[in-house]
């Protein structure tokens, strides 16, 4: 059964590492839902956080293949673990009319999203939170007319080591 898996890949910061990782997944026929590559507290180490929709068996194979890359230090599939904090960030532009403005602003308040730019015909807001919260926010704003949004993809960090 295919389900969402979040995989944290800790790598040595060398040229082309992102291409190696995404290339490896593509080469073996796996689709990537989202990928983030970012520096860590150690300048020589990068973390790449991947989200894939795959079966447990396929994720086991992906994990092993990722581990095989020379520059990979550690691979963790956090999907079945609960000691992880997972967050995502979104910037979203929603259509405003005289009529919808109060309702939209109401939702923004409830979700504790932050308005960035308010114009006569649209509102731009940002929101950080668990992926499920972001999904819900987008879903509830949809009827008002979403002009555009950008999501960061998932971030994750272990609560304790």
């Amino acid at each position: 059964m295919k389900e969402k898996h979040t995989i944290i890949v800790t790598v040595t910061n060398r040229v082309g590492i992102l291409a190696r990782i995404t290339g490896l997944l593509a080469q073996r026929g796996y689709n990537i839902e989202s990928a983030i590559a970012a520096p860590t507290e150690d300048p020589d180490v990068y973390k790449i956080i991947l989200v894939v929709m795959e079966s447990d068996e396929n994720v086991e194979q992906i994990t092993k293949q990722l581990n095989k890359l020379i520059d990979t230090i550690k691979v963790t599939d956090i999907s079945h673990k609960n000691n992880y904090i997972v967050r995502e960030y979104i910037i979203l532009k929603v259509t405003l009319t005289q009529r919808t403005r109060p309702e939209v602003l109401d939702l923004v308040r409830v979700f504790e999203a932050k308005p960035i730019d308010l114009a006569t015909e649209h509102l731009i807001v940002e929101l950080t939170g668990h992926v499920r919260k972001i999904d819900r926010f987008v879903e509830l704003l949809k009827p008002f007319g979403i002009k555009e949004f950008v999501r960061s993809g998932e971030f994750a960090m272990t609560e304790y080591n």
């Binding site: 290339g23 086991e60 194979q61 095989k68 890359l69 020379i70 230090i73």
Partner: protein, 578 residues
Amino acid sequence: MKGAEILIDTLINEGVDTIFGYPGGVVIPIFDVLYQTDKIKFILTRHEQGATHAADGYARATGKVGVCLVTSGPGATNTITGIANARMDSIPIVVISGQVATSSIGTDAFQETDMVGLTRSITKHNYLVKSVEELPGVLKEAFYIARTGRPGPVAVDIPVNVSNGILKNYKYPAEVTLPGYKPVANGNQKQIEKLAQAINSAKKPLLYTGGGIISADASAELLALLDKTNIPIVITLMGLGSIPTDHPTFLGMPGMHGTMAANLALTECDLLIGIGVRFDDRITGLRDQFATQAMVAHIDVDPAEIAKVIKPQIPVVGDARKILQELLKKVQPRQQDEWNERTNSWKNQYPMTYDQSAESDILPQYVIDRVSALADPETIIVTDVGQHQMWAAHYYKHRKPRAFLSSGGLGTMGFGLPAAMGAAVGRPNQTVVSISGDGSIQMNIQEFATCSINNIPVKVVILNNSYLGMVRQWQEMFWDEHYSQTCLKRSPTCPPKCTGPRKDCPSVYIPDFVKIAEANRIHGYRATKPSEVDEVLKTGLNQSGPVIMEFMVKSIENVYPMIPSGKPISAIIPGRSS
């Protein structure tokens, strides 16, 4: 010190005595350093693909890392097939390519190709060296990565300004620092214990071993295990030679063209012990119906191979030799029993045979048989890809490891001659016989010139059936004899829908391989009748220097047994008549 000098110094420090390659614009600085050293032998091939296969053949025959040096652009892209071939068979080679200057990278400069991008999925690891400061460390890593763990090809792309760059405080690095790369050597003791117990209690154990035994140099340990336990064994194409063919518990090669005994044993065993194998689709047939009676143990140095195809109940990650040494201490002696009788009875019931006396044409199997009888027992056999490869696997009497070199995973036609050349350079005291087909040999035929000029004494056997025989066999068996583009004699005057040899077929085969020999100033012989086979082989094998021996064999002959592609082992076809 200049980057090019650092490169050559590193190679010498890594113990490299031979490089196969081809020069070009951006590698002139490196070739200039080679011009001035006598510590490295350079073999100038006639094509970069030949150089890459030669480095591969050298590595297979010697166990050392093979090295290939080429220029950027077309030089680099010509190595791709060779690299992919080494990758599929886990062969340690380092391919060094020149690159345009770092300032020109990305501008589509003359002879620029993205070598790192092109080879990413077919190397174990690859590098673009961006500064001369990085060069020593990268080269040290490249050799370390190529030969350790599961061996494989490493590509190093060196821009011309890095070769020309000056490094003031060059020192050959003492060690590598790779936090993400730590191959596991020793197997987990508990798992080995579990495996030993499984062996001790199994009624129908079966060993299934492959190239991992060869690359771990574990033949002696495998033989010791067989001596102690008498477990029946099947060996893949990549593992042939790890024990002698005439070993009493050897059942042959398993898989698509495996022996009946090997395949029946796979189907019936209750414990399958895979060592240094990857449960390739050419072995398993239809995966769901593979070894359904068996508990599976899988020993491999590459953790990603475990459960990639078949999920084992007993996985053991580590070096085959070390694990076999541990296993030997833990298993109880086992005598030949009913299971051995049963597996041996299959060997007797379904022998690999042919009947040359009933034929006026030379049978390809007969030629291999005679090579086996007449060649020196220490001979290294190298094959190309196709029917002749399967016949060589079955009918040649393998005696030693690193003496049967074949393109297993990638199935690369054109591998044979250059790989044989590499093997002959690496082991000059051994006879090297390349067994090829008339199709395969033409794919790197330019290397006869390299053999001739350098007096590399490769003895090339060409089994000429005038067909791309393996594909033709599939067309005969599964495609209603639609011999589409598989006849190498076919000309525009032939009937458009040919279904096999007829009386009015073109009589002449092009090219004339004996004349190819002549043109390369080497000896060439041809046998057209069974009675000429021995004479040609005796003359050719005893001739000094490279030789071509062409055998005009029966054109329509099939490799049996055969499991049709995608079918389970039970669908095996034992032979033509059944």
